[in-house]
Structures are given as structure tokens and as C-alpha cells.
């Protein structure tokens, strides 16, 4: 036996970062499949591109620092970042924007702050916001859900759009793209249309946008899987969604003609995805239990505020980043009462 001084515990540990990340990826699969179903192959191409770029960027930076890149790649955190990014951006985003986004996320947001565990901002969301601010048009150019278009882009057609931006013969942009339901609603509300009129649009489904509602439902399933596997705790998703729901219900109850009904908020945009997969990124979220509830609830409220009165249609990314900044402070003021310490603290 070798002699060494190593502290207890002496038995095998129960978790491992890479297995956690793997579970997260697994939980994303149903939602991703639904997205591919509704929005075509472009999404898959984006995911593959983003993962390649992210892993390559991570390798390069770590090699440049004179370390072995393998362990960092093996923890799968870059893959998770890449996938989250790819499913947040339009499925026909030009490839170089994906590259730019991944460079921004991995090099600037993650590695420059010291790598895994040190980044104060969620890399995927930071990259998303960076691109949204820089290329607002491309970043809001969503595909029309498949059931609403005649032409279904094939794999190669999607690939060509992504690689050199050329549309298939005889197709116009208008034929394949449309605004997201959130976008559309904002636009029409600004033009003083009532909810009743807005809902006439073919983009509308049973309780959210056509297609979107099902994507969100599948992500919800993945999220529940994560909860069941104890990869995440309920605090952030539940507080986020309830605060969003409360805000939505309140305003809808007051003025149903100018405010969409609550389910629409939950099942549109990235609310579900954000609640279970993005806001729960441990590195950038709060770590205390009470902190997590405040963190989640604040994101939910901010999402509603930005969606309703802000300049951008969806707000998960902005809200998450804003709360990322506040996370250390929230943590500081929500420290638990330590065993044996009488008075209640914070």
C-alpha cells in the first residue's frame, strides 16, 4: 500500500461533473427532436456546428495556456453551452455567426474568467445577447413552423442557407421565415390590435405559438427528468415559472384585451427551456436555497417586464445575465443560519 495523507471520505463519490452534464444533454433530446420536427434540419446543423466550434475553441485556449485540454473537454460543459446556444438561435443562422457566438462564449465569457466554474455569466446566453445586439435581424429571422409552409427545407437546402446564405431556387425569404409568436404579438400589440384579433393569426396554437407550444412541452418533460434525477433542484425553475405566471395572470386579469393569457407566456419563447436548463446553470446561478428562489423569481418577473415593455420580444437571455450579476450579492445576503447559531440571519 502506498502511504499518503488523504482526508476522508474514503469511499467512492456519488456524482461527477461529466455525468451531470450528460444527463442535461439527455434531458434536452426530446425538446430538440420536437424543434427539428417543427423547424427543420437547420437546427441539427446548428447544433453540430456549435459543438464543433465550442470544443475547438476550448481546446485552443487551454492548449495555449499550456495545459492538457482533454479533462476540460471531457466534462462536457462546452458541449452543453454549445447546444443551449444552438437551440436558442434561429435554425438558419449563418455559420459564421455561430462561430462568432461560440468564440465569444468560450474564449471571452468562459476561459478569460478562468474556465469552468469561474465564469460569472452564462456563456450561452452571453453569446446569444452579443449576437442579438450585433445582428438583430439575423437573430430574429425564425423559420415558419413546418405545418404552416408549403416548402419544407431539406437537409442540403438548410445547409446551403447556413453556409452561404443562398435560398433554394424560386423561394423568397418571406416564404420560409416568419416572426416568432412573441415577436408577432409585440408588433401587433404596438399597432393597437386586441388580443382577439391577434389570435386570428395562423401562427397561434392551442395555448402558445403553433409548434412552439409543443417544443416547450417537451423541454418541460426534460426538465422534470432532471428534477427526478436530482440533477437540478426545484427552486429555480418553480420560482421562475411561478413568478412569470403570477405577473402574466395579474395583467391579463386586469386587461385581457391587451395582455396575452398566462399560458402563452409560459409556453412561448424560451421560458421553459430557460427555467429548467439555462437559469439552473450552477456556475452562474445562486447557490443558497433562498438565494435560488429569489434568483428564479426575479428572472421570471424580469422576463415579463421585458417582454411586455422592453425593446426585445424575448427576455430570458437578458434576465438571466442581469441576475448573474446579482447572484453573488444575493448569495451573500441569503446565507443560511448555521447550526447552533441562535439568531436568524439575513
Amino acid at each position: 500500500m502506498k502511504t499518503f495523507i488523504a482526508s476522508s471520505p474514503h469511499v467512492a463519490r456519488v456524482n461527477r461533473v461529466d455525468s451531470i452534464m450528460l444527463q442535461v444533454l439527455l434531458a434536452l433530446v426530446p425538446g430538440i427532436l420536437a424543434m427539428i420536427w417543427f423547424f427543420g434540419w437547420g437546427l441539427l446543423i446548428n447544433i453540430l456546428l456549435a459543438v464543433t466550434f465550442a470544443v475547438a475553441a476550448e481546446c485552443t485556449v487551454i492548449l495555449a495556456r499550456g495545459r492538457s485540454p482533454l479533462p476540460a473537454i471531457a466534462d462536457l460543459s462546452a458541449v452543453v453551452t454549445a447546444v443551449l446556444f444552438a437551440i436558442s438561435v434561429p435554425p438558419i443562422l449563418p455559420w459564421w455567426m455561430t462561430l462568432l457566438g461560440m468564440l465569444f462564449a468560450i474564449v471571452l465569457v468562459k476561459q478569460l474568467y478562468g474556465g469552468m466554474g469561474y465564469n460569472p455569466f452564462n456563456p450561452a446566453m452571453a453569446a446569444y445577447v452579443f449576437l442579438l445586439v450585433s445582428y438583430p435581424v439575423a437573430m430574429t429571422n425564425w423559420l415558419t413552423p413546418t405545418m404552416l409552409t408549403e416548402h419544407h427545407l431539406s437537409f442540403t437546402e438548410s445547409l446551403r442557407i447556413i453556409l452561404d446564405g443562398s435560398l433554394p431556387q424560386g423561394l423568397s425569404w418571406d416564404a420560409v421565415t416568419s416572426a416568432t409568436p412573441l415577436d408577432e404579438m409585440r408588433g401587433k400589440l404596438d399597432r393597437n390590435l386586441t388580443m382577439g384579433e391577434i389570435r386570428q393569426s395562423p401562427l397561434w396554437g392551442a395555448f402558445g405559438g403553433r409548434g412552439w407550444e409543443w417544443v416547450a412541452a417537451w423541454f418541460l418533460l426534460g426538465g422534470i427528468y432532471l428534477l427526478w434525477k436530482r440533477i437540478i433542484t426545484w427552486h429555480i425553475p418553480v420560482s421562475l415559472l411561478s413568478s412569470l405566471l403570477v405577473c402574466a395572470t395579474l395583467f391579463w386579469a386586469i386587461e385581457p384585451q391587451t395582455h396575452p393569457f398566462p399560458a402563452f407566456h409560459l409556453f412561448s419563447g424560451a421560458a421553459i427551456l430557460g427555467a429548467f436548463f439555462i437559469a439552473t446553470d450552477p456556475v452562474t446561478a445562486c447557490t443558497t436555497t433562498r438565494g435560488q428562489i429569489i434568483f428564479g423569481a426575479s428572472i421570471g418577473a424580469l422576463v415579463y417586464v421585458i417582454r411586455t415593455w422592453g425593446g426585445y420580444p424575448d427576455a430570458i437571455a437578458f434576465s438571466v445575465l442581469l441576475l448573474n450579476i446579482a447572484a453573488p450579492m444575493i448569495d451573500h445576503y441569503t446565507q443560511p443560519r448555521v447550526f447552533g447559531h441562535g439568531g436568524k440571519r439575513g
Binding site: 495523507i5 482526508s7 487551454i62 495556456r65 495545459r67 479533462p71 476540460a72 474568467y113 478562468g114 474556465g115 469552468m116 466554474g117 469561474y118 460569472p120 453573488p328 450579492m329 448569495d331 451573500h332
Partner: protein
């Protein structure tokens, strides 16, 4: 554009003035900083720092005449503590760190000359003229100042044996795979 630059320049000047004023206004009289530094030094009084004792070294550091990395007995811990106190960047030790040791007088050879005794900064040697001298190993700081004056070279340094009561858990040595900085300021203070 120009207004922006001007505004920022004005702000910079304003803050500079405020800083300068507060530096004068809140300047601390006396030399408590030297006291504070002295309290961080190990008090071995060995002179390895190039000063005749810990206190003079503390004063030199407080005046800015000497660097914070000269005290060998204090080692890394002392440098870190001083860097913390003075708000400076820690620097590598400018000497070799030694294992703690205490002086030992070979009773066979000691001629009782009292020379070592005069040199001991902490009076850790007991004895009188022409008598065998002994060292109070509890008080000895291991400064080695008693070694050179001994005419018969009967004093040697013996390493302090590590005792369970003073044992420290080693800093975990498993290398962190991927970390750059020692500690990002995540916890908002």
C-alpha cells in the same frame, strides 16, 4: 464625442483630487503600521533580513525602504500576511526557507566562555562564566546568532521534531485540472 471626453476627464480629475485630499486628510500619524508589521514577523531576531532584528526590519518595510520578502524564518506565510496588510502583491521569498530548529550546546565541549550568551537576542542561553552553558529550547528562536561567536564550535542546530499537537493537515495536493486564478472575487463582500 468631445463633451463625453471632457466629462470623463473632468470626472477623473475630480476623483483624483478627492483621493489626494483623503490621503492627506486621513493620514495616520505615528507609526502604527510598523507595529502591525512587527506583529506579523516571527521575532526570531536573526538578522537574516539584513536588519539587526525584526523591529528594525518592520520599520524599514513601513518606510518603504525594504521589500516584504526578506524574512526567511517567516517564509511564505509572513509574506502573504504582509502583502495583505500593506495591500501589495505577494512576492517570492528572497531566501531559502529553513526547517525550524533550535540550538544545542555540546556539554562535552562547552568551555563556559559566555560569548554565545551575550549574543542570544532572547536570553535563551543560561550559564555563567566558566560553567557549562545550556539552552532553553522552549525559548530558542533558532536564529543561529550564537553559532559564530563560539570559540570551540560546540553549538549546533537540531531540527525541531514534529509533534502531533502541532501537526497540520497538508494543503490538498491533487492538482486542480483547470484553474487559472487562485480566487476570483465571487463572494460579494
Amino acid at each position: 464625442m468631445l463633451t463625453a471626453i471632457l466629462a470623463i476627464a473632468a470626472l477623473a480629475v475630480l476623483f483624483g483630487l478627492m483621493l489626494g485630499y483623503s490621503a492627506i486628510r486621513f493620514h495616520v500619524e505615528g507609526d502604527p503600521i510598523a507595529d502591525q508589521i512587527d506583529s506579523l514577523l516571527p521575532q526570531t531576531q536573526c538578522g537574516q533580513c539584513g536588519h539587526p532584528g525584526c523591529r528594525p526590519y518592520a520599520e524599514a518595510v513601513a518606510r518603504g525602504d525594504d521589500d516584504i520578502n526578506k524574512c526567511a524564518p517567516g517564509g511564505e506565510a509572513t509574506i502573504l500576511a504582509m502583502a495583505d496588510l500593506l495591500g501589495r502583491e505577494p512576492v517570492a521569498l528572497d531566501a531559502e526557507e529553513k526547517l525550524p530548529a533550535v540550538a544545542f550546546i555540546d556539554p562535552e565541549r562547552c568551555i563556559g566562555c559566555t560569548l554565545c550568551l551575550q549574543n542570544c537576542p532572547v536570553d535563551a542561553i543560561v550559564g555563567a562564566a566558566k560553567q557549562l552553558h545550556g539552552i532553553l529550547s522552549k525559548e530558542c528562536t533558532g536564529c543561529e546568532l550564537c553559532l559564530p561567536p563560539c570559540p570551540v564550535n560546540c553549538i549546533s542546530m537540531v531540527p525541531v521534531t514534529e509533534e502531533i499537537s502541532g501537526w497540520r493537515w497538508p494543503f490538498p495536493s491533487t492538482p486542480l485540472k483547470e484553474t487559472a486564478k487562485s480566487q476570483p472575487e465571487r463572494a460579494a463582500a
